[in-house]
């Protein structure tokens, strides 16, 4: 039999971080009118004091390119050296082509393959797992993973369950080959039987049919069964986190930071109670000032911890993403 040549196996690490923070600050008081709520109610149930939205003339590609180019600059790697660009988003307004190809063009990453993944709030750790695989197997030397959302476009501001949650922004990690592992094994999974727990509806065909039948235009919006999602996240993600730590050969006290997807501060509280971290572990709370930016929330939260001096380069962090699908993913990372 004739052998197929393969590239040597190796490790990967995160070498760059870049974020784009949406510029328009929206307070709770500005959005409570249509949902008959209050600043206090929103803060008690989510921790959110304000969220940041992108203005009308800034789209997901603008934010992704800004975050991605900062991640490249952080590492001093030119865009032409990228082998793959992975964008996780649920708010890119085209079914096809992907957001990633537009990012590839804008960055001038002429040697990169580019594609999107649809794993919603689990998307960033999903992307890191894919990037680790691509680099470890020798398929790509440098992989840019970007989480980007403009959820303000897809939020029903009269929905009492979601109007105050969602926000906009982008975050990117640049990953490259390494002598020692800079990222632990990814623990991931999905449960499509809970498809309707968080869903963007109507879909495009339903929208067309409804319009043809009634003349009414029903734009797709994110719908969420909040209590069901809360119960799932609180009940299941502690075990997922433990499995990700164990896969990396670590105990809760071995890491310096816990950076969960910024879904809801109450979910973070419950996970922290279950994980029994020592007080030395810093817990990301970026949702308070940023809102829930889905795929972008983990890199945005890491950026805040770095900026505030709560973590430093070389520290270990546990990340976990969870949301629509339902889908989840977790891994330990070494902070670039």
């Amino acid at each position: 039999m004739t052998n197929i040549a393969a590239r040597p196996l190796r490790h990967s690490e995160i070498i760059g971080l870049g974020v784009h923070r949406a510029t328009h600050v929206v307070t709770n008081d500005e959005i409570v009118g249509p949902i008959d709520s209050s600043d206090q109610w929103i803060q008690e149930r989510t921790g959110i004091k304000q969220r940041t939205w992108a203005p009308a003339d800034v789209d997901v590609i603008d934010m992704a390119v800004d975050a991605g180019s900062k991640a490249l600059a952080y590492a001093g790697i030119g865009a032409d050296r990228l082998g793959t660009i992975i964008v996780s988003t649920i708010s890119h307004p085209y079914q096809t082509p992907s957001a990633a190809v537009l990012v590839q063009d804008r960055l001038g990453a002429k040697n990169a393959g580019a594609f999107d993944i649809s794993a919603a709030c689990a998307g960033f750790p999903y992307g890191l797992g894919l990037a680790n695989g691509l680099i470890s197997a020798g398929e790509s030397d440098y992989v840019l993973v970007i989480g980007v959302e403009k959820l303000s476009d897809w939020t029903d501001m009269s929905d009492r369950g979601t109007a105050f949650i969602f926000a906009d922004g982008a975050g990117a990690f640049l990953m490259g080959p390494a002598q020692q592992p800079g990222i632990g094994p990814t623990v991931w999974g999905a449960d499509g039987s809970e498809f309707d727990a968080i869903v963007m509806q109507p879909n495009m065909i339903e929208l067309r049919n409804h319009f043809e039948q009634t003349g009414e235009f029903d734009f797709p919006k994110l719908r969420m069964q909040g209590q069901k999602v809360f119960k799932w996240a609180v009940g299941s993600m502690v075990d997922v986190c433990y499995r990700a730590l164990a896969a990396a050969g670590l105990q809760p006290g071995d890491i310096q930071a816990f950076i969960p997807h910024q879904a809801n501060n109450r979910i973070t509280d419950a996970m922290v109670r279950g994980l029994k971290f020592p007080d030395s572990v810093v817990v990301a709370r970026d949702i308070i000032m940023t809102g829930n930016t889905s795929a972008a929330s983990i890199p945005l939260a890491l950026d805040t911890l770095l900026r505030d001096g709560q973590v430093k380069s070389g520290d270990l962090a546990l990340t976990v993403g969870f949301g629509a699908g339902l889908a989840y993913a977790a891994q330990v990372i070494r902070i670039p």
């Binding site: 008690e44 149930r45 209590q227 809360f230 609180v234 009940g235 419950a270 109670r273």
Partner: protein, 79 residues
Amino acid sequence: MTDQEILDTLRSIVNEIAGVAEADVQLDKSFVDDLDVDSLSMVEISMAAEEKFGVSIPDAELKNLKTVADVVNFVKANA
């Protein structure tokens, strides 16, 4: 489990999750109106109760558990 044992365990759960003093968790108290426990904390309390008492509390049942006595009686009937 006796009623008192169920109540004592429930007091500890409510204290840990919602920060309510154990002495305030009396049978006639309403979680929402008297103890200031909101809907998300009730979900967590029900999950902890399921684990500690070995019962299943369906989502539809949760809204019927308004007072401390409601939970004690539910556990007694279903454990």
